[in-house]
Amino acid sequence: MNAIAFALRSFGRELRSGEVMVLLAAIALAVGVLTAVGFLTDRIGKAVARQANEVLAADLRLRSQVPIPDTWRTTAEEYGLQTAETQTFPSVVFAGDLSALATIKAVSDNYPLRGAVRISDTLFGEQRVVEGVPRRGEVWADGALLARIDADVGDEIMVGGSDMLVSAVLTYRPDQSIGFASLAPSLLVNIADIPATGLIGEGSRVGYALLVAGDDAAISGFNEAIQDQLPDSVRASNREESSERAYNAADRAQRFLSLTAVISLLLSAVAVAMSARRFAHRRMDTVALMKSLGATQGFVITVAVLQLMMIGVLGVIAGSSIGFAAEEVLSWILSDIIAADLPDSGPMPVILASGSALVLLVGFALPALLQLRNTPPLRVLRHDMMPPAPSRLLVTGLSLAAVAALLYRSVGDARMLVILLGGIIVIAAALYLVGRGLVALMGRFRSGVGVAWRYGLANVARRGRSSAVQVVAFGLGLTVLLLLTIVRTDLLEGWRKTIDEDAPNHFMINIQPHELDSVAAIFDTAGVATPEFVPLVRARMSTINGESVKTRSYPDPGGSWLANREANLSWTATLSASNEIVAGEWWPADYAGPPLASIEEEAASDTGLAIGDRIVFVIAGRELEVTIASMRSINWDSFKPNFFIVLSPGALDDMPMTYISSMRLEEEQQSMLINLVRTHPSISVIDIDAILQQIRGIIEKASLAVQAVFVFTLAAGVAVLFAAVQSTIDERRFESALLRALGARKRTVFAGVMAEFAVLGIAAGLLASAGASILAAIVAVQLFELPYEFNPLLWLAGLVAGVLLVCVSGFVAARGAINASPIEVLRTA
């Protein structure tokens, strides 16, 4: 007979058996988590790839903090290259009395030289590729920006001193930054409109860029020719360079996600192995019968493998549906972080996930099935005849190979694989020991409890190995869920609390010296106390103790960055309240000697600076030597203007300077900003509350997404529990029947079984609470720089969640056994 026909025929009924359902669920989960994570990583990868190709909107980009000299453009044109110019800067835009910070992107006619801008005519409308740039007097605004100021296409918005018509929704520009796009959504403006807005004044922070595109030879020719003309402050970036960083970041994110998936995958593998063993065991009688009726070994094994494959196919179908659904949820959660308009991932994630399911089946289910082949036909007459157990070597070999194959996909390099595999084995062994320890600990309470609990505890102890696995499975899933909940609530909240109630919520930057009086007047009229104006001078470090900052070595890479970037300097006579001297001495209020400097302590240690060191700054072409006199610690959470380096009074006299300021504006006072920006378009007002809220939102969403992935881990834990219960279900049935036959009431039997699961749940909850507390403490101290506060609620939550989760799934899994009738004692045994 045809093995396929037989496999198909009996499959319908086999599907109803518990172990097949568990097998199916475990595979569906594995495929689901892999598909979901696959979609996500694909999305991140695509976003990065697109970014990499288009991030410059050109082949070469020259960036400068001062306007681009015409000669650069003419040189490019001599090489037959296309050019375009952009100016990028933050500014607050208004519609009615609503305002929001935007990234103003002013572009010239040819923009973009590479990639294409996409717009839509209505919010959430169909997007289309567009040629050209906004007409004079018109802007294309990011949907998020429009939402924030409650404006729509066709409305007028105020950009600096000009009113402009929103003529389209900007859905994509090639050079938008990856991620965090919502922090300051873009406003695309015709570069010819910028002078009229008055947004760019003396000392304004504007990124000027010359975009260049053409054939490779011309590009490199131009690049060489232009190098001599470029001042130090100009950065030329080509595609490779600019994409590298994005790739690295994306690569890390992708690996992290894949590894998260691996945890669920390993748990699914445990469930697969457990239920496959039972699957094989349950089929032994049928196999022996088939053999007695004349079926060959080949037939028997073909049927078993075919049915396994069918389970696999069903699992893949179910799993990819779960995956698709999860992907929808995840991309909805992350829509602000990852652009939502990326092309579909296509079937690749599903194909890869199915491949992994196959590996999982081969590695963890096949050994048990292969054993069926050797079932002695004599079993039809002697029920105790068993096939020889599959060799340990085969079982461990195959499963290790499967894990390695699955891991290889997420780490993609052999050395990492070995490290990781070793790590996983060590961690798994350690966790297993912890699980056993917890199980043993629970057992110590055995003598002090009633009959139901004793029965439950005895069962947990008797099935020590599988109990420990279940404790670890649930414990791990709960740990991460708890941890991320803490991050999203306690830690973010705690961080917010460290910010003073009266802390400033607005920054003003770019205030010109001649504007100080008129700005103060606006505050006066509005009845708001005029804030303090802090001077700011832009400078570049040139030497430290006579050595060039370029050649100097730094204790920390951050130090090099700090020394080489453009620095903001300020001067003050009195130490700000948010600062504290930690070394050296603050200068007297009436100090008038040679220029001194006070440096922030971390900046000092990163750059390797000490008191008495001499730094030469270049400010607008003039050199200024300062000596470090003190070190300060800064409370950045004060949200007051603060500087890494502050100079003594008089040091910056005659230097070109602007002023910055911070203030607290209550809701009803904020309308004064409209007046302020209208009359002083070049001043940028930044709403800190809004930015903090957005950062908070991003952290919340990212952790929510990771939590979503860990829901799969919990589900895999449930699958392990089901598999474990399934593999003992006959034993359990018999025990319940026996207990009932001995006179136990149904309630007592029920209580005994539930006590067993409660014990597992308590152990898992303990593991999770402990794990989450430790990790939360690390995250709090390292990431949020907050003192960690012990939270007893966390332990309560862990225990309750553990007990509920395990008891509910345990009840569902074991209800058949609980309801066993006492007559069964007579039937079996």
């Binding site: 053999k291 009726l293 004349g294 036909p377 002697r382």
Partner: protein, 260 residues
């Protein structure tokens, strides 16, 4: 030796004082009738924690086509073991079995399975239906394993014969013990096997159902050319066969024909 009744038309030679019965050609069987099953001095030893254990020792006989043979003896006598060896489910530690002229010892497991597919049927004490197949599909199973073309029609016919025409769609879990055994009998006869082995087929049934089942079996046996090997400890049942082999403690203690 009480088991060798006076009514036996043939002489069983008692070859030693341990009452070991040696194979002799039976006089009530015509020599031209082909032997379907022959046991040539088969023994079975198993190793147990207490050392080697002999379950069956030096058993020989020859069974011809169309015979119905009862294997009787107390529990633990080795009846099931003998059956397993005859059907090639297991191999003897000494001696050999020929089924339809083929020496089972010379075939590998798959070879023996193929031989069974073509020539052997089984009825077991605990029915052994495939739980995931319905009654009809269970009956079709050996037909299909043997590669029969019209498995479905044949199975329907025989299911009618065992009186389950209304129940063919039902799964084993939905059938009573007697009904299950009927399905098993239908399955056993479906391939019209040369030899049908039945190991205590009524052991799990009540007396009435058991009697009905046996009526059905003998009925089917009469209308086919199948050789029946029936293991039972029910003396009345044994008397319904043409020949009775008695086992005790692994020894064949008597082999007698039953008067018609």
């Amino acid at each position: 030796m009480s088991t060798v009744g006076a009514s036996a038309p043939s002489v069983i030679a008692v070859t030693n004082k341990k009452t070991k019965v040696r194979y002799r050609r039976m006089e009530n069987q015509s020599p031209d009738k082909a032997a379907v099953l022959e046991a040539h001095g088969i023994s079975k030893q198993v190793s147990s924690p207490e050392g080697s254990l002999t379950i069956l020792s030096d058993v020989s006989f020859r069974i011809c086509a169309g015979e119905s043979v009862a294997v009787v003896g107390p529990s633990g006598a080795g009846k099931s073991t003998l059956l397993a060896l005859l059907a090639g489910l297991d191999l003897p530690t000494m001696g050999h079995v020929t089924l339809k002229g083929a020496n089972l010892g010379e075939l590998d497991e798959d070879g023996r399975a193929r031989l069974r597919a073509d020539n052997v049927g089984f009825v077991f004490q605990s029915f052994h239906l495939v739980p995931s197949l319905n009654a009809l599909e269970n009956v079709m199973l050996p037909l299909e394993l043997a590669g029969a073309a019209n498995a479905r029609e044949v199975s329907h016919t025989i299911i009618d014969k065992v009186g389950l025409s209304e129940r063919w769609r039902h799964y084993p879990a939905q059938l009573s013990g007697g009904e299950k055994q009927r399905v098993a009998i239908a399955r056993a006869f479906a391939t019209e096997p040369a030899v049908l082995f039945a190991d205590e087929p009524t052991g799990n049934l009540d007396a009435r159902t058991g009697a009905n089942i046996m009526d059905l079996m003998f009925e089917l046996n009469r209308t086919s050319s199948t050789t029946l090997i029936l293991v039972t400890h029910n003396a009345l049942l044994a008397e319904r066969c043409n020949r009775i082999l008695s086992l005790d403690a692994g020894l064949l203690v008597s082999d007698r024909a039953v008067a018609a």
